[in-house]
């Protein structure tokens, strides 16, 4: 059955395809769907993820024959050339990337029998490499330098194709930032309080400032504890947010608690009534 092609900006192309473990009717149905779709769209090669089947399968059309590769792997590679490539995922885009000229590959056939082949045809090698990239969650644009990739993305954006928003990515502003912002202000107050002896202030005023520091310090500790638990809650909500990871949160806490401790010690030695 002809299936719908996964086309940019559909992010499913970034999924890693899992190795086929069971060679049965399900696999053979997928292979047939891939061939039907290739026929329909006049494609010469396809990775299963291009029709949203996350399996490590590639089909390449050689003449009138379909070459089925299940769980393909490249063992060795040699030579290098600039390959001008197009792909159904990025319609109307032609990209030049470096590819290996020769490859040794292993794969399994539809019955699960191990096969291998030496590829010395540049065109076939580049097609295979492009499709294998798809099976591991990569695509053509990943091969480009950042600037060139951005240029290509801009080109696609000009045609109204922009990356699809992904759920649960980092929020631009999260409520945990309130904890950090308030803590920063308190730290500023503590820091400034250390300079009070430079001014000609009365002992009562300095004592009051010292007492304020004595309240601020535990308040900062409490705020950071609150921050930790709220950040943990938020990290579960935004699974794909790297800045939400526990390591970053601990870093935020350590930095501020260390500063607060230093200020508290400074306050004790500089401001406390002796």
């Amino acid at each position: 059955m002809v299936q719908k092609l996964v086309v940019y900006p559909d992010p499913r192309i970034n999924s890693t395809s899992t190795d086929v473990r069971i060679f049965n009717d399900t696999l053979w149905d997928i292979l047939q769907d891939m061939k039907d779709t290739m026929e329909e769209h006049n494609m010469n090669a396809m990775a299963a993820i291009q029709i949203a089947y996350p399996y490590n399968i590639i089909i390449i059309k050689e003449g009138e024959e379909y070459w089925e590769l299940i769980n393909p792997r490249g063992l060795t590679q040699s030579g290098s050339f600039d390959s001008k490539e197009t792909t159904a995922y990025y319609p109307d885009l032609e990209i030049t990337v470096k590819r290996d000229e020769n490859m040794k590959i292993i794969y399994e056939d539809r019955e699960g029998k191990a096969q291998h082949r030496d590829i010395s045809d540049k065109q076939l090698a580049s097609t295979l490499q492009r499709k294998m990239d798809y099976t591991f969650g990569g695509n053509l644009l990943d091969k480009l330098e950042k600037k060139e990739r951005e240029k290509m993305l801009d080109h696609l954006a000009d045609r109204g194709l922009t990356p699809m928003p992904v759920d649960d990515i980092c929020p631009t502003f999260s409520k945990k930032d309130y904890f950090v912002s308030f803590t920063n202000k308190l730290l500023l107050v503590m820091g400034l309080s250390l300079f009070t002896p430079l001014f000609n202030l009365s002992k009562e005023v300095i004592d009051t400032i010292y007492n304020i520091d004595k309240i601020i310090f535990p308040a900062i500790i409490a705020l950071m504890i609150g921050f930790f638990f709220y950040a943990q809650y938020e990290a579960k909500k935004y699974k794909q947010c790297s800045s939400c990871q526990i390591g970053n949160n601990i870093g935020v806490i350590i930095k501020r608690v260390t500063l607060a401790t230093l200020f508290a010690l400074g306050s004790y030695f500089i401001l406390s009534p002796k």
Binding site: T16, R73, L75, K104, I106, F136
Partner: protein, 488 residues
């Protein structure tokens, strides 16, 4: 008073011994039998192997630590297990052979109530002709498996750098020395540390560095690869690894079984059946692992090694060893309690337990040579398993019907920080986490892993973490104040 005997004092054995002593106190005896006088933080050996650390920084003497903890330390290698005792006594015991200076070679019988096998692996250099003889490293290559090996590796590496400085082009080959090796991670760290050092020494342009391994794709690491979130989707570690190798100009040869090593040359067979040779001036090839060769003896003196140990020499535990083909493998095949199915007072932890099957897809060449990574059991799982086993035994000593503690690698995450170059400001390391270690295709259809807890990133911060962990784990192993607070 019960006696717990632990064979092996590596990450898993040391963890089990120290926690068991802490929980049992002086009411019961904890005995550690290990052939080494020193404890070695193995993950840092790669830094010794490039001259960035000394041997003394990665080892410390065990005797004073055990003396302080009240653990009976016997510097000896375990030779045989007699789980039913002998003709004269029903008390189970092990025989050990001293490796201590002055008493070396003397044998002794040590009785036990509970036994933990944490002997780790035998470095099976002899499996590949030319790589070594038995457990002894050969003359053609180097190793970073022990601190002494790593010291030797650095000495040889410096000679290669000196030649490169003198204008002689050098070729370095790093990877695995057999089709069924594990520990690709250590070789991965070593090759990138060498590359980093070559740059620092100003000889990178005179040194060709190449990777050779039994993985069927770069970034397999013996766990079938891992996956990183990218825009909400999982990208394979293959992309990450290939980018890194390309960026550092390190070509690779994978799906390779090193069949023979000669002076300056390895012969290999690939998964497609082709064979080839690779020349080198310096090579570090990880050997395959096997059980340490313990035998088991029945009460009547007959050999019963096959009852207790799997054919690879690792101890049988509560795993499903008849899982069959790759398609039938399940997370539940993996052991949970690490108790020997025949003798309930015997446990194995760390590398010493026999895994039910590999984690990576098993593959073989057309000639039938198996070429795939065997399952790794890195520091974190080994420590966690050691602690769980110690916990079970302590509970059993206090209450023989106590429930055993579980620590299945199919329900356990692992974090790994793989160094790619040491330096305060220019170091890099890949921080990787994977959950679960063994893919669970039933709970997590598709990739078998929970992507929330499976990720990896490379950078300077990773290096700092690796360095901090080095000090932290040595501090913990020395049982300094607060050691129990540091996780495994």
């Amino acid at each position: 008073m019960a006696r717990l005997v632990i064979m092996g004092g590596g990450v898993s054995g040391h963890t089990a011994a120290t926690f068991a002593k802490k929980w049992l106190g002086n009411d019961h005896e904890v005995v550690v039998v290990t052939p080494n006088s020193n404890w070695n933080w193995i993950p840092s050996n790669i830094w010794v192997g490039v001259g960035q650390m000394t041997k003394e920084e990665v080892v410390f003497p065990l005797a004073p630590v055990y003396e302080k903890a009240g653990i009976d330390f016997k510097q000896a290698k375990a030779v045989s297990i007699h789980p039913d005792g002998n003709a004269d006594s029903d008390t189970p015991y092990i025989t050990i052979e001293s490796t201590k200076e002055g008493t070396a070679g003397e044998t002794e019988e040590v009785t036990y109530d509970y036994l933990i096998n944490a002997t780790g692996p035998k470095l099976n250099f002899g499996a590949t002709p030319g790589l070594g003889e038995g457990t002894t490293l050969g003359e053609h290559t180097v190793s970073v498996c022990t601190a002494d090996h790593a010291v030797h590796a650095n000495e040889e590496l410096r000679k290669v750098f000196d030649k490169a400085k003198a204008g002689e082009r050098q070729k370095i080959l790093i990877g695995t020395g057999h089709g069924m090796c594990t520990c690709q991670g250590a070789a991965f760290e070593y090759i990138f540390n060498i590359e980093h050092e070559a740059k620092k020494a100003g000889v990178r342009d005179m040194v060709d560095i190449k990777w050779i391994s039994n993985e069927s794709f770069l970034g397999d690491f013996g766990i079938g690869g891992l996956h990183m979130n990218r825009g909400g989707y999982a990208a394979s570690s293959r992309l990450f690894a290939e980018s890194l190798y390309s960026e550092r100009d390190i070509p690779w040869l994978i799906g390779a079984h090193v069949s023979k090593v000669e002076a300056g040359k390895v012969h290999y067979e690939l998964l497609d059946g082709s064979t080839g040779e690779e020349e080198f001036d310096f090579s570090m090839l990880i050997p395959p692992f096997a059980g340490v060769g313990l035998t088991a003896v029945a009460k009547d003196g007959s050999d019963m090694t096959d009852t207790i140990f799997a054919p690879n020499g690792f101890m049988k535990v509560d795993a499903k060893y008849d899982a069959g083909d790759y398609a039938n493998w399940k997370a539940s095949d993996w052991p949970e309690t690490y108790q020997n199915p025949t003798y309930k007072n015997m446990f194995a932890c760390g590398i010493a337990f026999a895994p039910p099957h590999p984690i990576s897809k098993p593959m073989s060449s057309p000639a039938g040579t198996p070429i795939f990574p065997t399952p790794p059991r890195t520091g974190m799982p080994s420590g966690i398993i050691g602690k769980a086993v110690a916990h079970s035994i302590c509970d059993l000593i206090k209450n023989p019907s106590a429930e055993l503690h579980k620590a299945s690698m199919a329900k356990m995450g692992a974090a790994c920080v793989a160094s790619a170059g040491k330096g305060l400001t220019d170091g890099t390391a890949a921080a990787l986490t994977v959950y679960p270690v063994v893919p669970d295709f039933e709970t997590y259809p598709g990739l078998g892993r929970d992507l929330t807890y499976t990720f990896g990133e490379i950078g300077l911060a990773g290096h700092w973490i690796k360095h901090v962990l080095h000090h932290l784990f040595i501090y913990k192993a020395k049982l300094k104040p607060g050691w129990t607070l540091i996780p495994e």
